[in-house]
């Protein structure tokens, strides 16, 4: 610790810089809750007084509630699908060595490196070219592709370091491949899987571009919010909704992080223990 403070004395501005950086990151996010409790339609300082009426107005808003239901359905389907696909890919990469591994994982990770609008436009074209209708199903399919890279990176960090000999022991003792996965592998990697489910659900809940292009007449919450942004008078209601989504996202991400770390510890334990 003394070494740390000694080093930091040589760079006194750095901690201050990091603090400013964090302020820059968090200030915009903290403003949403502040104005969602403000008793005024405009978002300016000084604040006009405390109110919860914007939250109360959400409860009777049927269009918003329908969008919330859509988001929930999409989020659950996307998190399940992308986590299952992520498990396959993460397991293939951490457990086996095969040719084409880099190319395959490159393609799977590609959505991270592409402008989202191009991904959205290309999906829209293929859906319409096939003559399919835009619906929540198309949103689910598109967002799953977009979420798999995130699921995969969470899962790879949970699967890495998992001791193969545990599985081999299980095979030797007569378990089938499926039985081994269920009874040996799964308990060790379960936290990583839950973590992946939470992360992908959060991404799906907040994802806008793909939902905007692919949702047709059934909006998800971000698409609904986008439609409301044109009306200045509706801003406080949107801020209240945004605050709820923000709190939900942060809770899920925190839980995911706790579980991911537990998964890391568990795989390390499995290595240490005989």
């Amino acid at each position: 610790m003394s070494l740390l403070t000694q080093r930091l004395r040589l760079l006194p501005f750095l901690p201050a810089y990091v603090a400013v950086y964090f302020l820059f990151l968090y200030l915009p996010i903290l403003l949403l809750p502040v104005f969602s409790f403000n008793d005024a339609v405009t978002t300016t300082f000084p604040l006009a007084g405390f109110t919860t009426k914007w939250y109360a107005s959400l409860a009777g808003n049927s269009a918003m509630l329908q969008a919330a239901r859509n988001s929930l359905v999409v989020g659950i389907c996307v998190s399940l699908l992308s986590t299952v696909l992520g498990i396959c890919a993460a397991r293939a990469i951490t457990r086996y060595r095969f040719r084409g591994q880099r190319a395959a994982s490159g393609l799977i990770m590609a959505p991270l490196f592409l402008p989202e609008i191009i991904v959205a436009v290309s999906l829209l074209m293929i859906v319409l070219a096939l003559g399919a209708e835009l619906s929540l199903v198309t949103v689910i399919l598109g967002q799953t592709m977009f979420c798999v890279p995130y699921a995969m990176s969470v899962l790879v960090s949970g699967f890495e370091g998992f001791d193969r000999s545990l599985e081999e022991a299980s095979y030797d003792l007569g378990e089938t491949a499926l039985g081994t996965f269920r009874r040996v592998t799964l308990p060790v990697v379960a936290p990583a899987i839950v973590s992946s489910l939470l992360v992908t659900f959060t991404i799906s809940l907040d994802e806008f571009i793909l939902a905007f292009f692919l949702s047709g007449t059934e909006p998800t919450l971000p698409v609904y919010i986008w439609g409301q942004l044109r009306f200045a008078a509706k801003l406080p209601g949107v801020l209240a909704l945004g605050t709820i989504m923000l709190v939900a996202s942060i809770l899920m991400l925190t839980l995911a992080e706790v579980l991911r770390r537990r998964a890391e510890r568990r795989t390390q334990m499995a290595l240490v223990l005989p």
Binding site: L4, R7, L8, L14, Y17, V18, L25, P28, I29, L31, T42, T43, T44, F45, V84, C88, A92, I93, R95, Y96, R97, F98, G100, A104, S105, L107, I108, A110, P111, F113, L114, P115, E116, I117, I118, V119, V121, S122, L124, M125, A129, T144, V148, T202, I203, D206, F208, F213, P222, I225, W226, L229, V238, M245, L246, S249, I250, L253, T254, R261
Partner: protein, 305 residues
């Protein structure tokens, strides 16, 4: 191995060899990754191929004429509106990626070298804002930068300015600030990962051999963390060039980017081949620009060394 595999499948009378390959590491790995790979093939690779195909076709009201033509690319590259949009989008994404990397490097360095046992917590705190709703974050910048917004009212109350600055919101600066905020974590993480891989004894060796702190950083730490800097740069620059929400919400007239034009071709304008050509051109231009910057970075670091 694939040839053996086909042989094995063809020779059904010898199931033993077939089974041996099926049990091999390669077969199992391929089988395991195939669902995810096929999904990405069908929903990413194939659609992108279709976009490329469309960009060489033409549209006649609702009919698609499938004769090969470069007309869409001629329009995309020569019409002044699109040219301006391309230039602005590239400038903005270049500015955003450079600013993000420069401002994030010290933070990644701080976490890697002075993060102590709480490194993971620091990283988590950096990623949290990036995973909360993108739309809401952009909206909140609109609240900050607006005419009667937080920044203006704050500056007035401090006494730095008399009347609100009008240039904050609805400009390309607003787009750059908002995008830098959105992509910060994507720059910190790769730089952090490559800094973690830097062998600390090399830095000590440089210091022992008489390099100053700054020289040791420039000649050892920076070159060794270059892969992280490059991937941070790419992961910020390429997606931001096609950003749609930020220019629409905070860009105003002067901050319009190419995504708005692409979207228009699939909405009101309804000229898919032109929209496809604009998309492909965007990807090609941003890849070329990114490659040029990566080369320049490598060259600069080699010179410093």
């Amino acid at each position: 191995m694939t040839a053996t595999a086909f042989d094995a499948i063809a020779e059904t009378p010898s199931p033993a060899r077939h089974r041996a390959w099926m049990r091999s590491e390669e077969a199992r790995g391929l089988a395991m990754i195939s669902p995810t790979f096929l999904y990405a093939l069908a929903l990413l690779f194939l659609p992108v191929l279709i976009v490329i195909a469309y960009s060489f076709w033409t549209q006649d009201y609702l009919d698609i004429d499938r004769t090969f033509t470069l007309e869409n690319y001629r329009q995309a590259l020569t019409e002044p509106i699109y040219r301006d949009l391309f230039v602005r989008s590239l400038w903005i994404s270049l500015a955003v990626s450079i600013v993000t990397v420069v401002f994030s490097y010290p933070v990644a360095w701080f976490i890697s070298f002075h993060g102590g046992v709480h490194r993971n917590l620091w990283l988590f705190l950096i990623t949290v804002p990036c995973w909360t709703s993108y739309l809401l974050r952009v909206m909140s910048w609109k609240v900050i930068l607006g005419y009667g917004g937080v920044l203006n009212t704050g500056l007035i109350s401090v006494g730095l300015i008399d009347k609100p600055l009008t240039s904050l919101l609805y400009s390309s600066n607003a787009v750059v600030i908002t995008l830098v905020h959105s992509w910060a974590a994507f720059a910190v993480l790769p730089i952090y990962v490559s800094l973690q891989k830097v062998d600390r004894t090399l830095i000590e060796a440089a210091r022992d051999l008489g390099d100053s702190r700054m020289r040791a950083f420039l000649r050892v730490t920076l070159p060794l963390s270059l892969p992280g800097v490059i991937s941070a740069f790419l992961i910020v620059m390429i997606p931001t060039v096609g950003d749609y929400v930020t220019p629409r919400l905070v860009g105003g007239k002067d901050g319009v980017m190419i995504a708005t034009a692409i979207q228009a071709q699939f909405g009101k304008g309804a000229n898919w081949p032109l929209g496809a050509a604009l998309s492909v051109t965007t990807m090609v231009l941003v890849s070329l620009t990114a490659a040029a910057v990566v080369l320049a970075l490598r060259f600069a670091v080699r010179r410093i060394r």
